[in-house]
């Protein structure tokens, strides 16, 4: 799997390269700046891009803008955005086109190499990887004014949270130490209680949940 990596801090870039290479990713390019990233994304056609939000030369949200532009040029281009802080505002912009293949994680998440690599693979496959913090913020805001959410059991809320992060049933089952069938039952209940359309497709399911949580904002 070919990866384009954009990160301006040498230590982090170096660490990410080593981490990804150790997990059998091929680093097509590891760049430092926004313009370099744009060029790499256009020319190298990677399977997934791992991008830091803040990049030179402007040191504003250059990385995010490059990623969004690249996805406009090549819809569905898998992009995993990393940042020192997560904002719902950015998450919403990334999810706006509704085509999946999007990740948005705190840089801290690389501490857990397995989970991080899993997230990169998921995004590359067209899935979603939303940072738990984004989901928690969405849930806590939503909980204050949403009746259907109150009808969920604590367990169902837990499953909803993990589902919104983009995890598959199998991954959720592993995390909560239950069978996949139990999770399937929970998700069916959640979708019924929130009146969401049931879909067998994992990715579409995640997007539906995220759209539900972010509705009316």
């Amino acid at each position: 799997m070919r990866v384009v990596l954009a990160e301006d801090l040498f230590l982090l870039r170096d660490g990410l390269v080593r981490l990804l290479e150790a997990h059998d990713f091929e680093i097509a390019a590891a760049v430092e700046t926004g313009p370099e990233l744009s060029r790499a994304l256009a020319e190298l056609e990677p399977d997934v891009a791992v991008v830091d939000v803040r990049l030179p030369p402007t040191l504003t949200d250059e990385g995010l803008q490059c990623a969004l532009q690249a996805r406009r040029d090549r819809p569905g281009l898998p992009v995993l955005v990393l940042s020192q802080h997560v904002e719902q505002l950015y998450a919403r912009e990334l999810l706006a086109d509704g085509s999946g293949g999007v990740g948005y994680l705190l840089k801290d998440r690389v501490f857990d190499a397995e989970q991080f690599v899993d997230a990169v693979r998921r995004v590359a496959a067209g899935g979603t990887a939303m940072d738990p913090q984004v989901i928690q913020q969405l849930l806590s805001r939503r909980a204050a004014e949403d009746r259907p959410l109150e009808r969920l059991t604590p367990r169902e809320l837990e499953v909803l949270e993990l589902m919104a992060q983009g995890r598959t049933n199998a991954a959720i089952a592993g995390k909560l130490v239950v069978t996949e069938r139990a999770i399937a039952k929970h998700t069916a209940n959640i979708f019924a209680k929130l009146s969401l359309e049931v879909s067998d497709d994992d990715n579409r399911r995640v997007l539906a949940v995220l759209a539900y949580l972010d509705r009316g904002r």
Binding site: D61, S83, E87, L89, D108, D112, Q137
Partner: protein, 425 residues
């Protein structure tokens, strides 16, 4: 028909003029009672008190007397502003709060504003008094002329002078009434003019010309002190947070790593357990640093500017917030930061105290000013008081000559408006 419309159109104008004249007369009356006694008493006390300074008594009395003079002058400044629209800036030098009578006396005597006050008093009791008196008498004197024509001349002593008309019989009484009419016409114009002249005179004597500059210097000194205090306090808080938070955690991480190294051979299971704990410590340190950074300068503000930073802030609140932004460019970083934290504090205040379930934020730029209003549908009663979050907001904005206005009747809604003069790029 056309004539009628004309006359109705003119009526309110002459009505307004009569009202203006009457108002001037009443104010003139008030001023004659205030000026003469006030100025005479103040002047005499001030002169006597200052004269007594060499024998010691004056040192005790002078601060009191001069404070009284200042209060009198302040009263007149207020009247000039309210009645005459003449702004007379106050430009007294501040005295140290713990000064002794000696220091206070000489501090006040060294202040040129004190001498301007004392010089103004004799002018006020003469020219000031006369202008006020004329504003009162001019509209009243014609009434006497009319009364004379109406029959008052019969009881007047022979050879009574009304103005320059000697009243002896009905004919000369009519002359008196004519003169009264002319004077009344003049009074329409002159009474308000005289009053204005009175206030201008007060302004010319009391105002230093440098008054506005002095006022500006005072405001700048104050806001600069606030800014320095605030940033010093901020730095102290950051230092403490780093010291007790991230720094301590990193020390713990280093220590744990040492322990893990030692345990690696002896007890690998224990080492692995400790490793997980160490990873958690470093994650906690990062979380703390992130919160700290958000408090110093929110990353979204640096990345996207004020509009999106406030939008991102709104998304974090547990209350529904509508954000309306119309900014054609970005302000300078310090202004953006001040505006952001002002909004942030206002929102925190609203969420904590108002009980609102909806908040509206409007930000736009007009007339070289950044205008921000934060409105909530809560229970109102917010004030800019000591210890309230809004006082902090006011201080923050003050550094940039920004102003804060709060409208918050009991029962709500609360509207907080901020204005910061700035340029956008």
């Amino acid at each position: 028909m056309s004539i009628e419309t004309k006359s109705t159109a003119r009526q309110p104008r002459s009505g307004a003029r009569i009202q203006g004249m009457a108002l001037s007369a009443v104010r003139g009356l008030a001023l004659t009672f205030i000026t003469l006694p006030g100025a005479v008493v103040c002047f005499c006390l001030a002169v006597v008190s200052i004269a007594l300074v060499p024998i010691g008594v004056g040192i005790v009395t002078t601060p009191w007397v001069l404070t009284g003079v200042r209060a009198f002058a302040d009263r007149r400044r207020l009247l000039a502003a309210e009645w005459g629209g003449v702004r007379i800036p106050r430009a007294y030098r501040p005295l140290p709060e713990d000064a002794n009578p000696w220091g206070r006396t000489f501090g006040m005597l060294r202040d040129p504003a004190t001498w301007r006050d004392i010089l103004w008093l004799p002018v006020d009791m003469t020219a000031g008094f006369v202008t006020a008196l004329l504003a009162l008498v001019l509209p009243l004197y014609p009434l006497e002329g009319f009364a004379i024509a109406a029959g008052l001349w019969r009881v007047l002593p022979d050879g009574y002078w009304y103005g320059f008309v000697k009243v002896t019989d009905q004919t000369s009484a009519f002359y008196a009434a004519g003169l009264g009419a002319v004077l009344l016409l003049a009074a329409f114009w002159l009474a308000p003019l005289l009053l204005r002249a009175h206030f201008r005179l007060t302004g010319a004597m009391l105002g230093s010309g440098q008054g506005e500059l002095a006022e500006r210097v005072r405001v700048l000194t104050e806001t600069r002190r606030d800014a320095v205090d605030t940033s010093a306090a901020e730095l102290r808080r950051i230092e403490r947070d780093l010291h007790d938070g991230a720094q301590a955690r990193l020390v713990a991480v280093g220590m744990d790593l040492g322990t893990i190294e030692a345990l690696l051979e002896k007890d690998p299971a224990k080492a692995r357990e400790l490793l997980a704990q160490t990873r958690q410590s470093s994650a906690d340190a990062l979380t703390e640093l992130r919160e700290l950074v958000r408090g110093i300068h929110p990353p979204v503000l640096a990345e996207r500017g004020l509009g999106d930073a406030v939008r991102a802030l709104a998304l974090r609140l547990p209350v529904a917030v509508e954000v309306e932004v119309d900014l054609p460019g970005r302000a300078e970083a310090p202004v953006e930061s001040a505006a952001y934290f002002a909004v942030s504090e206002t929102l925190t205040n609203a969420v904590k105290h108002s009980g609102a379930d909806r908040i509206w934020i409007d930000m736009h730029y007009a007339e070289a000013r950044l205008r921000i209003s934060v409105t909530d549908n809560g229970k109102g009663g917010a004030v800019i008081g000591a210890g309230s979050g809004l006082a902090g907001v006011e201080r923050r904005l003050g550094t940039f000559d920004g102003v804060l206005a709060v409208s918050s009747p009991a029962g709500g809604p609360t509207m907080v408006t901020m204005e910061i003069p700035c340029a956008l790029s």
